[in-house]
């Protein structure tokens, strides 16, 4: 796998094949092509991001990309961080075994959390139900039939106290949630939760997704117009720089954009443009890149092609490091090293869901070989329902197996130097940079939303994927090979009527027992801070401490900033 000598010295003219190139061409002509002629091709050898895959990669490919070890790879924990964001990677500090979980009300969910911790979960990200994510209290008309369905209902601090009852916030490596459109509120809820438990902010770590811009393109929980939403999200980051610099209050996502059809390279470009928008808001607010960049994480995603996934993580780290250094003048390692959170998926199928255990394990292994820092793994039934207890446990055990068995993490960046991986990494990097140039040409992250560019690339990609599946070009066992009838189990996102009742009762109790004058006064201050463009987190924290609800705070913003009118692009 390793290269014998530095190819920098070779660099032949492109029209004049080197010895390695001639050898490769000879092999194709004399050995491979005659063998291939006798076989009908099984499928087109093109990955989801559109790169054609050759039968064999050799030193000739490295020559063609002008591979330079020191410039392109360097060493783990050092610029440009291609081989890893931290010095020892999984050999010294293994990736954090994480779980994303939540359903019903806080009471039901707390029981599941305790079980997850029992089997070795190191980080829990709370899945919130859709009303909470969209800023509606459980008793709102829009919450009908949605309370506790795809996550746990959180209306106020009272629910958080119950959710973490018996689970000290510092007993896990990180705790957190997505809260993409309600970032400052969930940040305040976690800060207030620590106060309630008597744990100072520097003794635990909160991680949020808090990436509203991708919601408009891909995920759909947007509340406000994009510009004020992005500003509020960066308030959460700024507050952490000032008060809890060890927290990771923003994880910028490729995940949903790729899953929606954009492909991992264009998805990475869009996410990266979003990250740049947040960073520039923070710089404009007076923070430095060295303060801000370490608090931002990226959430890459590639669930179709194992090797592209590895290449994507390596290319992403390289682009991040170079951009932070060259564009923003970052000076510290922490600011230039891109930390990554990943969620292991494969092409999960609705039929024979147990097969998804194998699919998600391979998808996750690719991320681990690519050097991810925080790793989640989808439950085998996740495509169809809130994961049951067994599937949640299997997911965790799979992560533990990848972390500890087979020696996957014994050496750092084990595929570095592979002809194939390095060629792919450079090709994926080129695709991401092309995507970024396209986005820059239309004016950056906000026009990606406003012009419908994001939606357009997603729809086109989704249709292309569907056609590849329908035609068999993208093989999918039990779907287009050995097809089986999908079987969605009875547990699928059914909701829990009793949990909804408990939640509504608890919300009513909180609303009647709290200090009404204090709630009104703190909410008025949230409105003032929002109107004056101040950081909203201090005022939101006061409101949350007074048991103001998520819906009450979001209503202030809805009134002040208006609601988002979505793009018509379909």
């Amino acid at each position: 796998m390793n290269i014998a000598k530095s190819p920098r010295s070779i660099s032949p003219a492109p029209d004049e094949p080197s010895t390695a190139g001639r050898q490769h061409d000879r092999w194709v002509r004399e050995v491979y092509a005659p063998a291939a002629e006798e076989k009908a091709p099984r499928k087109p050898f093109v990955v989801d991001v559109g790169i054609p895959i050759k039968p064999l990669y050799t030193p000739a490919n490295l020559e063609r990309i002008g591979f330079d070890y020191e410039r392109d790879l360097g060493f783990p924990g050092e610029y440009p961080f291609t081989r890893g964001d931290r010095p020892g990677m999984n050999r010294l500090d293994p990736f954090v075994v994480s779980a994303y979980s939540g359903f019903g009300d806080a009471e039901a969910c707390n029981r599941r959390f305790r079980k997850l911790i029992e089997v070795g979960t190191e980080q829990i990200l709370v899945a919130l139900d859709l009303p909470t994510q969209c800023g509606y209290d459980s008793d709102h008309e829009m919450s009908t039939a949605e309370v506790g369905n795809v996550g746990v209902a959180i209306d106020s601090l009272a629910d958080m106290e119950l959710l973490f009852n018996g689970i000290p916030v510092d007993s896990l490596k990180r705790i957190g949630t997505l809260g993409n459109s309600i970032g400052p509120i969930v940040l305040a809820l976690y800060a207030a939760l620590g106060e309630k438990q008597g744990v100072p902010w520097q003794r635990y770590t909160v991680n949020l997704q808090n990436d509203p811009l991708k919601e408009y393109i891909a995920r759909g929980t947007q509340i406000l117009p994009p510009a004020p939403a992005a500003k509020l999200a960066t308030d959460a980051v700024a507050w952490c720089v000032d008060n809890a610099p060890g927290w990771s209050p923003m994880t910028v996502c490729v995940n949903h954009i790729n899953a929606g059809g954009a492909g991992s390279s264009m998805g990475t470009a869009i996410a990266f443009a979003n990250a740049r928008h947040y960073i520039e808001l923070l710089l404009a607010a007076g923070y430095t890149i060295d303060q801000v960049a370490p608090l931002l994480h990226m959430f890459p995603d590639e669930r179709h092609d194992f090797f592209v996934s590895i290449a994507n993580l390596r290319a992403l780290r390289r682009i991040w490091a170079r951009t932070m250094k060259e564009t923003y003048g970052a000076t510290t390692r922490e600011a230039m090293a891109c930390r990554t959170t990943v969620y292991g998926h494969g092409q999960e199928a609705l039929a024979e869901p147990l097969n998804n255990i194998a699919r998600t394990a391979f998808g996750t292994l690719a991320y681990v070989l690519g050097g991810a820092s925080y790793v989640y793994l989808a439950g085998y039934d996740e495509a169809v329902s809130t994961p049951n207890e067994e599937s949640a446990k299997v997911a965790l055990r799979t992560l533990q197996i990848i972390a500890n068995e087979h020696g996957f993490g014994d050496t750092i960046d084990p595929l570095g130097g592979s002809y194939y991986i390095e060629t792919l990494t450079s090709e994926v990097e080129r695709q991401i940079r092309e995507g970024l140039a396209q986005i820059e040409a239309i004016g950056g992250a906000l026009p990606v939303i406003a012009t419908g560019f994001g939606r357009r690339v997603m729809t086109e990609g989704a249709v292309r994927r569907q056609r590849a599946i329908d035609s068999g070009a993208r093989p999918w066992v039990t779907v287009n090979m050995w097809p089986q009838k999908p079987n969605v189990s009875n547990t699928a996102f059914r909701g829990d009527a009793q949990a909804t009742e408990r939640q509504l009762a608890r919300l009513a109790r909180v609303k009647s027992e709290r200090d009404h004058a204090r709630v009104a006064a703190t909410l008025a201050e949230v409105d003032r801070a929002s109107a004056e463009g101040r950081n909203v987190v201090p005022s939101v924290l006061e409101a949350v401490r007074a048991y103001a609800t998520v819906g009450e705070i979001v209503d202030i913003w809805r009134n002040r900033f208006g609601s988002f009118a979505p793009a018509t692009d379909f």
Binding site: P225, I442, G443, G562, P566, F570
Partner: protein, 348 residues
């Protein structure tokens, strides 16, 4: 409007759209009404924010309680004839209002920015008591110019950042606008875009935006042009000739942010002022005559061609033409001879 009435309106529109049984009788009734609705055309390139603007305008006008209809027209696929109609997505302020009827239409293969039944649909809506109809067109640029035949006031919408200069100018939209709007005026470059439009207008108009009285004798250089270019003649027909008419209209260029109510109110006011001026100057009536003439000619053409036109999607040549096709293709007759003979035989 009661659900039952909305349903009747919707069904009537389908009847015309599909040209199904009862269509002709319905239109005979519709064209005999006295209250032709005021039609406001909203056009402009894709991405200009037309739908959001329409939503805001409708919400504004609906406050008076009058019935308003929106016909939002999107292109149909040239391959399948199908369409994805997404204009409802932008509806927020005008959504759920009782006096607003919104219909998404596909151009069903018709080129020109409108559905080929758009004017018929306006007539039908008039029958149901709508006094104001907003027609939002596909925004495909050049082909959008047809909107100005149906509309009493055409609003051309553009936004900054659609390319150097103004695409609308290239697309022929400059010639059809009664009012111009630079939408998303809070974006960088908006003022430049507005100035570009104003400069383009200054080349064809004299006076200040809005209604202008004819300059008194001795003032200005109002020499009648010997023979204005066809483009200028069309503008003069629509907006008046400063050398002859008592009043003329110079299209204003408004800057709007569709989310700002004050700016929307101003746009609504300008549109109404234009319609009021057109009416007072006799231009609405003149336009109604032009529209009627255009429609009659097209109806006549359709009627005359009916026996000879292919069924869409079919490759078969209609029987009456078959022999002539062979003769022309075989070098035994000219197309004009064929047409003349077919027309003579039909007794027309």
């Amino acid at each position: 409007m009661e659900p039952g009435e909305i349903r009747r309106i919707a069904r009537a529109i389908s009847t015309v759209e599909n040209q199904s049984a009862g269509c002709e009788a319905l239109l005979e009734q519709a064209y005999r009404q006295t209250h032709w609705p005021n039609v406001i055309g909203i056009t402009g390139p894709p991405g200009a924010g037309k739908s959001t603007l329409v939503d805001a305008l409708v919400a504004h006008w609906a406050r008076s309680g009058e019935r308003i209809a929106v016909l939002a027209i999107d292109p149909s696929s040239p391959y399948s004839g199908g369409a994805v109609l997404g204009d409802r997505v932008r509806r927020s302020r005008s959504s759920g209002l009782d006096n607003v009827y919104f219909r998404s239409l596909s151009s069903r293969g018709h080129v020109g920015g409108l559905s080929d039944t758009a004017t018929d649909l306006v007539a039908v809506l008039g029958l149901f008591g709508f006094r104001r109809v907003i027609v939002e067109t596909v925004g495909a640029g050049q082909s959008d110019v047809e909107v100005h035949e149906t509309a009493d006031c055409t609003v051309v919408v553009t936004v900054p950042g659609l390319g150097d200069g103004i695409q609308a100018a290239k697309a022929g939209l400059m010639e059809i606008g009664d009012v111009f709007v630079v939408n998303k005026a809070d974006l960088p470059g908006a003022e430049d875009t507005a100035r570009t439009v104003e400069r383009a207008l200054a080349a064809a108009y004299t006076g200040s935006p809005g209604v202008n009285a004819r300059p008194k004798h001795g003032q200005g250089s109002a020499e009648p042009a010997a023979s204005p270019s066809p483009g200028l003649a069309a503008l003069q027909l629509r907006h008046g000739d400063a050398t002859r008419d008592d009043t003329t209209w110079v299209p204003p260029v408004l800057r709007t942010v569709a989310s700002e109510n004050a700016e929307i109110a101003m746009l609504a006011d300008v549109v109404d002022r234009f319609i009021g001026w057109s009416d007072g100057a006799g231009r609405l009536a003149m336009r109604a005559r032009e529209r009627a003439y255009g429609q009659i000619v097209r109806a006549l053409a359709t009627l005359l061609l009916a026996p000879y036109v292919r069924v869409p999607g079919s490759n078969a040549i209609p029987a009456p033409v078959e022999q002539w096709v062979k003769d022309v293709a075989g070098g035994r007759a000219s197309p004009a001879e064929a047409a003349r003979a077919l027309l003579d035989r039909s007794g027309a």
